[in-house]
């Protein structure tokens, strides 16, 4: 099995092949070239390789991988990418093909990690001597029935009461709410400026992990959302209490599936959860207009997710080893302690 390796900078030359594989595998916007190109532009270190198996015009497998430690490679996985960059024509992971790739990587490669894979797009392999299949996170999703009321009736009494209480609180305090949606390319700069302003004033700002205006994260989201706006798939939810922007979600919407990529809200707000009220309102409106059938969160399952949905699945990593020696080596080194 001959793999071809190219520098990551050549990705634009392979975007048709990548797109074709993604379409075969579920057509997720998170693996669309409109997502990958800005991701590589902003987060590539230059050490990544595009690897390709089969006819370069119609490859069977295509991935972007990078060395992570001596002898170890992994799919390119910046923190803003929910899924590792690995696509294959078949849903099952071709272990012999991956092993042959490991042998063809520069240096003495011993392992390759295929990170953050969604069981919707890749069948999870079994753990064996040279394959470690590991849980990464449990992520929630909502599959809506046709009508919002049918969905809402199935939620707990506690959640329904809580949302009603928040509404009453807003009315009592003369706070008018408004949902605004940005979807045009020229709106994305403002969307990211506002996002950064809210997030950097909260706890993420204190630990310096917030998106801040003009930083790499902010540039990535602006570039990526602008690219998706050309196909009408960008969606930035913005929620106001009177004239103040209090919550915003950065999303993609494809095939009636909403992918919530990033969310922030004004942490000084007491008594209500503006992000939840915003989503409640959006779900209600979008379902009424038949624009929505599913929401994907792609983040670690939290208690609040469980209130909004009963559905979740495990995102996994697969570590493939060149041979069986790693299991043996673990055993040997453990004996030494």
């Amino acid at each position: 099995m001959m793999w071809k390796l190219y520098p990551a900078s050549e990705f634009p030359n392979f975007q048709d092949q990548w797109q074709s594989l993604n379409k075969d595998r579920g057509n997720s916007p998170l693996l669309d070239v409109k997502f990958i190109l800005p991701l590589m532009d902003k987060f590539s270190s230059g050490s990544e390789k595009i690897v390709l198996l089969g006819d370069p015009e119609k490859p069977e497998i295509m991935a972007v991988i990078a060395p992570t430690a001596k002898g170890v490679w992994a799919s390119f996985q910046p923190s803003n990418a929910p899924l590792g960059l690995w696509l294959s024509r078949k849903k099952a992971l071709d272990i012999p093909a991956v092993k042959s790739l490991i042998k063809q990587l520069p240096g003495m490669a011993i392992a390759l990690g295929i990170t953050q894979q969604d069981p919707l797009f890749m069948t999870r392999p079994d753990t064996e001597k040279s394959v470690a299949s590991l849980d990464y996170i449990t992520t929630a999703h909502i599959d809506f029935p046709e009508k919002f009321d049918d969905y809402w009736a199935l939620r707990s009494k506690n959640l329904r009461h809580n949302m009603k209480r928040q509404r009453n609180f807003l009315t009592k305090n003369h706070i008018e709410t408004r949902l605004e949606i940005y979807s045009r390319g020229e709106q994305m700069k403002q969307a990211m400026m506002d996002y950064g302003k809210i997030e950097s004033s909260g706890w993420k700002g204190q630990i310096e992990s917030a998106v801040t205006q003009g930083d790499r994260q902010s540039q990535f989201y602006e570039q990526m959302l602008s690219a998706f706006s050309n196909s009408g798939e960008s969606l930035v939810l913005r929620y106001y209490y009177n004239e103040n922007l209090v919550a915003t979600d950065l999303c993609l919407l494809r095939d009636k599936i909403l992918y919530i990529l990033k969310t922030t809200y004004d942490e000084t707000i007491k008594g209500t959860s503006p992000a939840h009220i915003m989503r409640f309102e959006y779900y209600q409106t979008a379902l009424a207009s038949k624009l929505l059938k599913r929401v994907e969160f792609y983040g670690p399952l939290k208690d609040w997710h469980k209130k909004w949905t009963n559905e979740a699945r495990v995102i996994f990593h697969s570590n493939i080893y060149r041979n069986n020696f790693i299991a043996l080596a673990h055993k040997i080194t453990k004996l030494i302690g």
């Binding site: 430690a69 002898g71 011993i110 001597k129 020696f325 043996l328 080596a329 673990h330 030494i336």
Partner: protein, 83 residues
């Protein structure tokens, strides 16, 4: 080069221990003595030995004793070459 020198060179490049490799003698302990020799490095070492000497190493061929000292590792390679 002799087997001993070849194995020393493989240790040097695989573990990236530089000139420390030159001080290794037959009775120098490996596992537990060279901090770089973690499980990943052991796997890399076996793979490098397999490829360099064009030998086939089976799971049952090796144990902790194989990596006890530099001498035991070299002995293991010599035995495999003699098969």
């Amino acid at each position: 080069m002799t087997v001993i020198e070849d194995v020393r060179e493989i240790l040097k490049t695989t573990l990236q221990i530089g000139e420390r490799a030159d001080d290794i003698e037959a009775d120098t302990p490996l596992l537990g003595n060279i901090p770089e020799l973690d499980s990943m490095a052991v796997a890399m070492l076996i793979t490098a030995i397999e490829e360099h000497f064009d030998i086939f190493v089976d799971d049952d061929d090796i144990s902790a004793e194989t990596f006890e000292t530099f001498g035991s590792l070299c002995e293991f390679v010599e035995e495999k070459l003699a098969e």
